[in-house]
């Protein structure tokens, strides 16, 4: 085991990016909003001004240029900031970057990195709180990394900036203050990350911000006598379905928590894998409701998985509470 350092998520992210920039002079950033609009500024602009180009607000061109540059020897990173802006550059990731290796029979590759802040940051509303990773997991050729701990974000920048595939880093503004140990040598993200080991009553499987919420819910569930295991899945594509199910084998109940909507979500992909195993495990999905993200925080809380809702879903799953009349759950007639 390598040594670890206790860090906050945003500090681990800055340290990881700086380490990769120092290690490889061919890394070039198109834009610099890695800490997004609201996280503590990491000082990137001052420290690495000569490694940053600022394109005009032209996401398709910027993402396409980054793709082409990555085919010709640069390691390009595009900090897109709020993930919604990526939709203007959607063709560059869905149609160009993801296809270069395949449509060149491996003679070329485009290991470009796109970084977005996704999920519900609160106060963003219907156009600034999206979960594009759920859409992009249907695109072959991409790697999608969704870190949920300081150690995972450390590894995400390492894997993205040293790997061979076009990679999306799905970041989350509300993870900034999360604390955790960061190993000196980056962990590997292609495997499930057991962040809390329980006795086998319940496994909660999640990623990104929801992984932190799951940990909080697991702590709350101790008062109910529940000892929950919490497993992170930081690589959403290609997703290690079998390894994740192996990691939760032996648990009688499994709760999949996902900030995406359930249809076509990473959580539903994992749940389908569990169903195919036919192990008789009791399982439930807890995802964002099929509704737009409202601006007002109390309205947003009505549709997303909160810590309380995760704990409540766990209690229902374990038979410790009866089903609630939570608006978040579709009624039988609405299905």
């Amino acid at each position: 085991m390598s040594a670890t350092t206790a860090m906050r998520y945003h500090a681990a992210r800055a340290r990881a990016l700086f380490r990769e920039l120092d290690a490889n002079p061919d890394i070039l950033l198109l834009g610099s909003a890695v800490s997004g609009p609201f996280n503590p500024d990491m000082g990137l602009d001052e420290r690495y001004a000569d490694r940053i180009l600022w394109p005009p607000i032209a996401e398709f061109a910027a993402m396409g240029i980054a793709t082409g540059a990555s085919m010709a020897g640069l390691r390009t990173l595009v900090p897109i900031s709020t993930s919604s802006f990526m939709f203007y550059g959607w063709p560059a990731i869905v149609q160009e970057a993801s296809n270069v290796r395949y449509l060149s029979a491996g003679r070329a590759s485009a290991p470009v990195v796109f970084h977005v802040h996704a999920g519900h940051r609160r106060g963003g509303g219907a156009q600034h709180e999206h979960t594009p990773h759920a859409m992009l997991q249907n695109v072959p050729g991409l790697r999608i990394l969704a870190p949920g701990t300081p150690a995972e974000v450390d590894a995400a920048f390492h894997e993205a900036l040293t790997g061979g595939d076009p990679t999306l880093i799905v970041d989350h503004l509300l993870l900034a203050d999360a604390e955790g140990p960061v190993p000196d040598a980056p962990m590997r993200l292609g495997e499930p990350n057991v962040v809390r080991s329980g006795r086998g009553d319940l496994a909660i499987v999640s990623y990104s911000l929801m992984l932190q919420h799951a940990l909080e819910a697991a702590t709350a569930l101790e008062a109910d006598g529940v000892s929950a295991t919490v497993v992170g899945v930081p690589c959403l594509s290609p997703m290690p379905v079998d390894a994740t199910l192996d990691a939760i084998a032996g648990h009688a109940s499994v709760l999949f928590v996902d900030e995406s909507r359930a249809a076509g979500s990473p959580a539903s992909h994992l749940a389908a894998g569990l169903l195919e195993r036919g192990t008789g495990v009791r399982a439930r999905l807890l995802c964002t409701a099929d509704a737009h993200p409202p601006f007002a925080p109390h309205l947003l809380d009505a549709i997303v998985p909160t810590v309380e809702r995760i704990a409540g879903a766990a209690r229902e799953l374990l038979g410790l509470a009866s089903a609630t009349t939570d608006l978040h759950r579709p009624s039988p007639t609405s299905r």
Partner: protein, 322 residues
């Protein structure tokens, strides 16, 4: 003779005879394809100035470019027919023909989609101090896509070594595809971003050759991006889906005895006319044509005889690793 010393006529005839035979066997092609008939002079002009370090971003209409650049014709036919002999072993088809050994690593068929990718290649070359430029080819329709305008802007802002080649095969009306552009002339669009632009008659091989040479020399000299509008006359066989060949195989004798109004706009017949004016021996031209036609015939036969790829190929080159 190596590809770099081919006469212009040979570069053009390779594309023309290829596409004519492809239309002959169109029933054997799955899906759609697009031919470059009438646009061969632009392809030959680019091929003549392309250096080994240059990258060529083509599009859905690429046959004439690859043929002009000297790509083996058998793998081209094979890819279009879905056979293992193709560069992508049948995974790409006509829309994604490529030849990494001749500057075409990857071909996007999204309208305008390959243009920013070409700019990125140019950016990487300049930043790494490497030789070579990017040549981005697109049709006049691509000027309706916002990304082209984004690219003109950024190419100028960053002075990228990029040649934009707009292969216009719409009916020219004062240089503009009037149905889809409000601009007075297509060259106004890059010029609004201070990308110098020229317009050339691409049915005249010498004219388009001059325009491309001048633009590429400026780019190689550090002058930043250039735009060339290569204006052709619409070829009557083009269709949204499968092309037909209403004019039949173009015999070189039609240079002197035109069969059809379009023959006056045929860059190959125009090249023959120019060569004849310069005193070329018609027998030598016929012999060159016969040699190219035989090469095409052999290539088509080899492609038709090639087996399909095994199903396992469908799972290769998806990612660098699992």
């Amino acid at each position: 003779m190596t590809a770099s010393t081919w006469p212009r006529l040979e570069r053009m005839l390779r594309g023309r005879r290829f596409d004519e035979r492809l239309i002959d066997v169109r029933e054997r092609v799955t899906g759609v394809f697009h031919v470059g008939i009438g646009q061969e002079a632009t392809a030959a002009a680019i091929a003549a100035v392309r250096e080994p370090d240059d990258v060529l971003m083509l599009n859905h209409r690429s046959h004439q470019h690859l043929a002009a650049n000297g790509t083996d014709l058998a793998p081209m036919f094979a890819e279009i027919l879905g056979r293992d002999l193709g560069p992508l072993r049948g995974r790409g088809g006509t829309l994604h023909l490529c030849d990494a050994d001749r500057g075409v690593p990857y071909t996007s068929s999204m309208v305008g989609g390959g243009v920013p990718v070409g700019l990125g290649v140019a950016l990487a070359k300049r930043r790494r101090g490497e030789p070579g430029i990017a040549i981005c080819c697109f049709g006049d329709g691509a000027l309706g896509e916002g990304v082209l305008h984004e690219c003109f802007n950024i190419a100028r802002l960053w002075d990228l070594p990029v040649l934009f080649v707009c292969e216009s095969n719409s009916a020219p009306a004062a240089g503009q595809a009037t149905a889809s552009q409000s601009a007075g002339a297509l060259t106004d669009l890059p010029q609004a971003h201070r990308v110098p632009a020229s317009r050339a008659d691409a049915t005249d091989p010498s004219a388009i050759d001059d325009a491309v040479r001048t633009a590429v020399a400026a780019i190689r000299g550090g002058g930043g991006p250039r735009f060339v509008l290569a204006q052709t006359a619409p070829w009557p066989g083009n269709a949204t889906f499968l092309p037909t060949n209403p004019l039949g195989r173009v015999e070189l004798s039609r240079a002197e005895r035109p069969d059809h109004e379009w023959d006056a706009h045929d860059p190959i017949l125009n090249e023959v006319r120019a060569l004849r004016r310069d005193g070329a021996d018609p027998e030598a031209l016929r012999a060159l044509d016969a040699r190219v036609a035989a090469e095409v015939e052999d290539a088509l036969r080899a492609a038709l005889d090639a087996p399909p790829a095994p199903a396992s190929v469908a799972f290769e080159n998806v990612r660098a690793s699992a």
